[in-house]
């Protein structure tokens, strides 16, 4: 499965599109009727109160979780997902972590570039266990840069990052977007992205999720007799 190099993806077709998507968590339908299209260079910011379903939506878009209804279509060589946890192995050093992910994605040439993008070069031989939360987060984001995949799905990317790191991340994201990539972020703070479109999520009022089959009452006669 070759990675669609970003510049190759033609400007017109969408990198990721969702039609009539509805997602559920623990049998309860959180969002329904979510539709959007992501073109190269687009950034979509998901906003909404805690627990409205931002993470669940991102996980459904990432394919970690099947949608209850609607479809998600992703371009070839698709997406990279950055969840709350940074996928960092504490026992390994910073470069070992990135070398591993580079090898998995078949792009080992970019490790120094990724390190530089998130200003981690001076930490390259430190064991990840000794990094601060902010540095670990930057290492997680460096992995995203490394994947070379057009669509980034980021869940609260800037949590535990200080001012400087947020700016660092914003520039890395900006570079990704200008190179024809796209991103969907669930975040509360403004990243200063000029053309970011916002998607405000509201709880769905549709009946319960996959447990629908159990939604309706039963009129049974038997147990009434002797239970």
């Amino acid at each position: 499965m070759t990675d669609a190099s970003m510049t190759g993806a033609s400007m017109s077709d969408a990198l990721l599109s969702a039609q009539g998507l509805s997602v559920a968590r623990g049998g309860v339908r959180l969002l329904s009727g979510v539709s959007f299209e992501l073109r190269p260079g687009d950034a979509l910011v998901l906003r909404g109160p805690n627990g409205v379903g931002k993470t669940t939506l991102l996980r459904t878009l990432a394919g970690l979780q099947p949608p209850v209804a609607g479809t998600v279509t992703v371009c070839e060589g698709g997406l990279a997902y950055g969840g709350h946890a940074d996928a960092v192995k504490s026992a390994l050093t910073v470069t070992e972590n990135l070398d591993f992910w580079a090898a998995v994605h078949g792009r080992s040439v970019d490790v120094p570039a990724a390190l530089a993008a998130l200003d981690l070069t001076h930490l390259r031989d430190r064991r990840a266990a000794t990094l601060s939360a902010g540095q670990r987060r930057r290492l997680g984001l460096a992995r995203m840069v490394l994947t070379g995949r057009p669509v980034w799905l980021l869940d609260e990317p800037t949590v535990s990052l200080d001012k400087g790191s947020v700016a660092l991340f914003a520039t890395a994201l900006g570079a990704h977007l200008t190179a024809g990539g796209a991103a969907i972020l669930a975040t509360h703070i403004d990243l200063g992205l000029p053309d970011a479109t916002c998607l405000d999520l509201a709880p769905s009022d549709a009946p319960t999720g996959p447990g629908d089959a159990f939604g309706d009452a039963f009129d049974d006669t038997f147990d009434g007799a002797f239970l």
């Binding site: 049998g27 309860v28 939604g215 009129d219 006669t221």
Partner: protein, 243 residues
């Protein structure tokens, strides 16, 4: 109306609603009749003496113990392929019944063998196979209990049931191979019913039917309970969401 129609909870509840009274009556008739006939009206066998009466509980319970797992395998497959809630809940409902039947088969088998072997437990390959089957049931139910999300639990237990069935089948032959070394008394095996004289065979078929109907009744009642429990948790979840 295809068979799959029965897999939606509302239809299943309605159908079992009117079916269960008849099934309960049929169970009482066949099981009661079979046991009474087997216990009171059969003469003593020449060699075994009155222990042949244990046949009437050991053989049917062993039969149900094995076929309950086969039923769970089929319903797990139906769940994995067609995603019907009722079939996986029927599997969950059948597991405790199968487990108890395995325990009964083990207990009666060991008790029956006691006069022959002189000990309460000899590693007879058939009984050992049921001991392993009991462990499979235990693992299956433990996995159900360990996972909160019902859909995840349904999927994981179904996968365990599939893989477990292959290993249960393999274990059966491994145990027979392993027990070669033992010098066994007369074989007290499940398939003994074939060469049993007619006077014993008729009550045996009746008790077998009784156990089968008992199994069906219990599985239907327990499946209905599982469906109600799922509806309860769905309503509670919806209420929490609405609040």
């Amino acid at each position: 109306m295809s068979l799959w129609e029965y897999a939606n909870p509302k239809k299943f509840m309605e159908t079992t609603g009117w079916l269960l009274p008849w099934l309960t009556a049929l169970t009482a008739l066949t099981l009661g009749g079979g046991l009474v006939w087997g216990f009171f009206l059969t003469p003593d066998a020449d060699r075994f003496g009155s222990t042949v009466k244990i046949l009437y509980v050991h053989v049917p319970s062993a039969f149900i113990a094995i076929n309950a797992w086969v039923m769970m395998l089929v319903t797990s497959l139906i769940w994995l392929v067609r995603r019907h809630h009722v079939s996986v809940l029927a599997a969950r409902a059948a597991a405790p019944v199968g487990m108890v039947m395995t325990l009964i088969a083990l207990f009666t088998g060991a008790v029956w063998g006691q006069p022959m072997w002189g000990t309460w437990w000899a590693w007879d390959p058939r009984l050992t196979a049921f001991l392993i089957l009991f462990l499979f049931y235990l693992g299956y139910l433990a996995l159900w209990a360990a996972i909160e999300n019902p859909d995840t639990a349904a999927d994981l237990t179904s996968v365990l049931c599939l893989v477990g069935s292959v290993f249960a089948f393999l274990s059966r032959y491994a145990v027979y191979f392993w027990a070669q070394g033992l010098h066994q008394g007369a074989s007290l095996s499940v398939d003994r019913a074939q060469h049993v004289a007619d006077v014993y065979a008729y009550p045996l078929w009746l008790t077998m039917a009784g156990f089968v109907f008992l199994f069906l009744t219990l599985v239907f009642v327990r499946t209905r309970t599982e469906i109600r429990a799922r509806r309860l948790s769905a309503l509670v979840a919806r209420e929490r969401k609405a609040a």
